[in-house]
C-alpha cells in the first residue's frame, strides 16, 4: 500500500507521464525513435548517478543493469534507424521527458543514503511502468515501419523485466535488507 502511495506521489509530483493521453496525435516513426532514444538516455543517466552515489548492493546492481541494457537498446535502435534511413526527431513528448528528467536529476543529486536509494528505485518503478504502458499503447500501434514495430515488440519484454526487477529492489529497499541475494528458486 505504502509503495503504491509513494509511486502515485511521484507521478503527481513529477508529472512525468508517457501515458497515451499525452499524445495529441500519433507519433511518427522519426518521433518514435527520438522518444525511445530519449527515454533510454534518461534512464542511463539515472543509473550513472545511482552508481556514483548508492552503497546499496541491490540498487547498484540494478543501476548497472539499466546502464548496460539501455545502452544496448540505444545502440540497436540507432543501428535500425540508420538502416531504415530514419532520422530521430524531437517531439513534445521527448522534450517533456527531458524536462521532467532534469527535475528528477536535480532531486537525485540532492539526496543521500537511504533517502537517495528510495527515491531512485521508486522513480525507476514508476518510470518503467510508464514506459511499458506507452510502448504497448502508443509506440507499437503508431509505428508505421514493420521492422521498427517488430523491434519495439522485441524490446518490450526487456522493459517489463526491468519493471519487475525494479519492484523487487524496491521491496528490498523498503525492508532494509537484500531480497536479491536469496536463491533464484
Amino acid at each position: 500500500m505504502k509503495i503504491q502511495v509513494i509511486a502515485a506521489a511521484i507521478v503527481l509530483v513529477t508529472g512525468l507521464s508517457l501515458a497515451p493521453r499525452s499524445y495529441a496525435q500519433a507519433p511518427t516513426d522519426p518521433q518514435i525513435v527520438g522518444i525511445v532514444l530519449a527515454a533510454d538516455d534518461i534512464d542511463i543517466n539515472y543509473g550513472k548517478i545511482a552508481l556514483s552515489k548508492s552503497k546499496n548492493k541491490d540498487v547498484r546492481a540494478f543501476a548497472q543493469q539499466m546502464v548496460t541494457d539501455h545502452s544496448a537498446v540505444q545502440k540497436s535502435v540507432r543501428d535500425l534507424a540508420a538502416k531504415l534511413g530514419v532520422t530521430p526527431q524531437d517531439s513534445d513528448t521527448s522534450k517533456s521527458l527531458n524536462s521532467k528528467a532534469e527535475e528528477i536529476t536535480t532531486k537525485l543529486n540532492t539526496l543521500k543514503g537511504k533517502a537517495f536509494d528510495k527515491f531512485y528505485i521508486d522513480n525507476e518503478v514508476v518510470y518503467h511502468k510508464q514506459v511499458t504502458d506507452a510502448v504497448a499503447a502508443v509506440l507499437i500501434p503508431s509505428a508505421q515501419n514493420a521492422e521498427l514495430k517488430s523491434a519495439l515488440e522485441g524490446a518490450q519484454p526487456l522493459f517489463l523485466g526491468h519493471l519487475e526487477h525494479s519492484q523487487k529492489v524496491q521491496a528490498s529497499v523498503e525492508k532494509g535488507k537484500s531480497a536479491m541475494t536469496a536463491k533464484a528458486y
Binding site: 543493469q65 548496460t68 544496448a72 519484454p157 526487456l158 523485466g161 526487477h165 536479491m180 536463491k183 528458486y185
Partner: protein, 131 residues
C-alpha cells in the same frame, strides 16, 4: 547395314555412362569413409546428446530441459542484451553470454534439478534436469 543400330549404340552409351559414374561413386565412398574416420575419435558416446536453449526476449526457451550426465547443453543468446545462465552455489555459471554468442555446458555427473537464472535479469528463471 547394321541390323541393331539402336541396341549397339545404347550399349556403348551405357558403358560410357558407367565410366562417367564410376569416379563419382568412388568419390562418394571415399568421402563417406573419410567422414566416419574423422568423426570417430571425437564423437560423443552413443547416449550423449546436444540440447539447445534459445535466450530471447528475457526468456530461456524451453524453460525446462532434461538431459543425461555428459550430454551437452547449449545456450544461444538471440536477445538484444547480454545474459548469463547461472545456478546457485553448486552447479554452473556461464558468465556473460553476449548477443549472438553460444555457451556450452557438459551436463554434470550428479543427477538432480539445476535451477538457474540470469544474474543480470533475476526474473529470468529456468531449469536443467539431469537424470
Amino acid at each position: 547395314m547394321n541390323m541393331y543400330p539402336h541396341n549397339e549404340s545404347t550399349g556403348v552409351r551405357g558403358l560410357q555412362r558407367y565410366a562417367l559414374l564410376l569416379p563419382v561413386l568412388l568419390l562418394t565412398i571415399a568421402l563417406l569413409a573419410d567422414q566416419s574416420r574423422l568423426a570417430a575419435p571425437d564423437a560423443p558416446p552413443a547416449s550423449a546428446a546436444v540440447q539447445t536453449i534459445e535466450i530471447k526476449q528475457l526468456k530461456f526457451l524451453p524453460p525446462v530441459v532434461t538431459v543425461h550426465p555428459g550430454d551437452k547443453v547449449q545456450w544461444t543468446n538471440n536477445d538484444i542484451v547480454p545474459h548469463t545462465a547461472t545456478t546457485g552455489d553448486k552447479g554452473f555459471d556461464s558468465g556473460s553470454i553476449g548477443v549472438g554468442e553460444t555457451w556450452t555446458l557438459t551436463a554434470p555427473a550428479k543427477k538432480g534439478d539445476y535451477f538457474y537464472t540470469c544474474t543480470f535479469h533475476p526474473n529470468m528463471k529456468a531449469k536443467v534436469v539431469v537424470q
